[in-house]
């Protein structure tokens, strides 16, 4: 299955992926309306230190600890993509406790959000990948995680 992969050598720490992610998941048509003067809460996050930087988002693990541990049944795996049903989620944080990558985080309303590879929003293919100016994030088939 195709996944989002990062090549930290090419990452400029420009944080554009975070903005594209927040925009794609905002449901807004205009980027200005979606992002301007708002504190963004994206599903991909840049880690950076001493000149090293890289983006972290859900790995869509084949053996997802978040899904297996989800106490409400809100997380599921469909065709390899790990999805969250925010209507079922009660914000218990068991997935935050379980994810070894720190890739699940709360929304403003307290339920959880995570990368769904833009399969559930209007972008269709991962917006972070489309928006990365340096090819540091790619969407490719490379075997298992």
């Amino acid at each position: 299955m195709k996944r989002v992969y990062v090549n930290e050598k090419w990452c400029l720490a420009c944080h554009l992926c975070e903005y594209y992610c927040a925009f794609a998941n905002s449901g807004e048509k205009s980027m200005v309306k979606a992002l301007k003067n708002l504190k963004i809460n994206p599903r991909i996050h840049i880690e950076e230190k001493n000149g090293i930087s890289f983006a972290v988002s859900c790995r869509h693990c084949e053996e997802p600890l978040c899904v297996k541990g989800c106490i409400s049944g809100a997380l599921s795996q469909k065709d390899g993509v790990i999805l969250i049903d925010q209507n079922k989620c009660v914000g218990c944080y068991t997935c935050v406790l379980s994810c070894p990558y720190g890739a699940i985080s709360p929304t403003e309303t307290g339920v959880m959000q995570k990368c769904e590879l833009c399969t559930t929003n209007a972008s269709g293919t991962p917006a972070c990948v489309k928006g990365c100016p340096n090819g540091a994030i790619v969407f490719e088939e490379r075997g298992t995680v």
Partner: protein, 412 residues
């Protein structure tokens, strides 16, 4: 092959999904003495709080049994397992034979013997949907509620019914709330949060007797109440398999393949005991993620696969009135206290391993610490100072990141 699963909750559902990973067509019979479609047990307090409803709290979709070709038999209590004939008998007299069987019977609330308990008018426990619905039915705006036990279940119950009654008092034998997962330094933070929300806590006390709607405490205090909820702990439901001859301790003994000591019989979830790798001790880890994984492991093996689950640890994510906490592992060894700005973070480490942690408030990326415990990652192989400050993948080797984030395959 014909598989029988007893118990329609996390472990039982994990088993169905485990079997179906390998065999789409094996026969599966799923029996439960509860009458409901599989539901999320931990959500019963959220139900009373109004944060979920009967529809949304279903643990799997309405078409789960059909899609997975499961013969679901609700309201059937299994009363006997005969390992010699490979047959089970239910209370209603139904008999079924199996090739492999999973016992996922969970746990039951423990009720200490206290003089006068039988005479209490409105006495409840808080472990099932029926418990929650009965409690909801009994509660009025005027109710004074007494909850025995300030553990996870007692406090979740208190939070759930907070707006449905007049007064809530929680008592515990311990000197603090959540004594099994919080230490003396951190428990008062949660106690304060509960008290701010009108929940009274009475530590180091227990009920000596119940008389005329009053709890007479060992300390001499007298607490009048209208509704009593006993949440002092749960006991694994081991009787079925114990009678059938399986080895049991506190819970049913299983190996890392979820096999019991009896041939073709597996067990999973709250009815079992297993090895906690963070402490090296056999424990009953009555936790949903553990139940699911043990059930799934059993299912894969029942379907002829070879799967083991070897990294059980205690771990809890729980919140009260918007204040979240995540804890995991065992609080052994040296302590590194990284608490700041009102957020608590205590890391416990020993022999180059992270053993446990307590986080309250900011719990972002806590799972990275959980992974250090579960995978027993040598702290000398990562930047421990950095990760202790901020959980992140930056503290790991470039090779680790290339593999996990970059999809790079190194030859081994």
């Amino acid at each position: 092959m014909k598989h029988i699963i007893i118990g329609n909750s996390a472990a039982g559902i994990g088993c169905v999904e485990g079997i179906r990973r390998l065999h789409p067509d094996d026969e599966i019979y799923l029996l439960s003495d509860e009458k409901y479609h599989t539901y999320s047990r931990p959500l019963i307090s959220y139900l009373l709080e109004g944060k979920t409803d009967l529809e949304r709290m279903k643990y799997r979709s309405d078409d789960f049994y059909e899609k997975n070709k499961v013969t679901f038999m609700p309201g059937e209590r299994v009363v006997k397992i005969n390992p010699a004939t490979k047959k089970i008998t239910t209370e209603s007299g139904t008999r079924l034979s199996y090739d492999d069987l999973l016992c996922a019977t969970g746990s039951s609330p423990f009720i200490p013997t206290t003089p006068g308990y039988e005479s209490v008018q409105n006495a409840f426990t808080f472990s099932s949907l029926d418990d929650a619905l009965a409690l909801q039915e009994a509660l009025t705006e005027e109710s004074r509620v007494l909850i025995i036990g300030a553990g996870l279940i007692g406090l979740k119950c208190a939070e759930g019914i907070r707006d449905l009654c007049r007064k809530i008092t929680v008592v515990d034998l311990a000197n603090r709330v959540l004594s099994s997962i919080l230490d003396e330094q951190t428990a008062p933070i949660i106690q304060k949060k509960l008290e701010e929300n009108g929940i009274r806590f009475l530590p180091e006390d227990c009920v000596a007797s119940y008389k005329n709607g009053e709890a007479h405490m060992k300390s001499g205090k007298v607490i009048p109440f209208d509704i009593l909820v006993t949440c002092v702990g749960v006991r694994p439901n081991t009787e079925l398999l114990k009678t059938a001859g399986a080895k049991t301790g506190k819970g049913i003994q299983i190996d890392d393949h979820s096999r019991t000591s009896l041939p073709n019989i597996y067990a999973a979830g709250d009815c079992t005991e297993c090895l906690d790798i963070s402490s090296g001790q056999q424990k009953v880890l009555a936790l949903l993620p553990n139940a699911y994984k043990q059930g799934e492991t059993a299912g894969i093996n029942m379907a002829g696969g070879d799967h083991s689950f070897k990294d059980s640890i205690p771990m809890n994510a729980i919140g009260f009135f918007g204040l979240h906490m995540i804890t995991a592992g065992t609080y052994e060894g040296s302590v590194l206290d990284k608490s700041e700005n009102g957020n608590i973070k205590k890391l416990f480490y020993q022999d180059d391993l992270l053993k446990g942690f307590i986080m309250i408030g900011d719990v972002d990326k806590a799972g990275i610490y959980t992974a250090l415990i579960r995978e027993q990652i040598p702290l000398s192989s990562i930047d421990f100072d950095l990760i202790a400050q901020t959980p992140g993948l930056m503290a790991f080797s470039k090779k680790y990141r290339d593999e996990t984030l970059g999809g790079v395959r190194y030859g081994y």
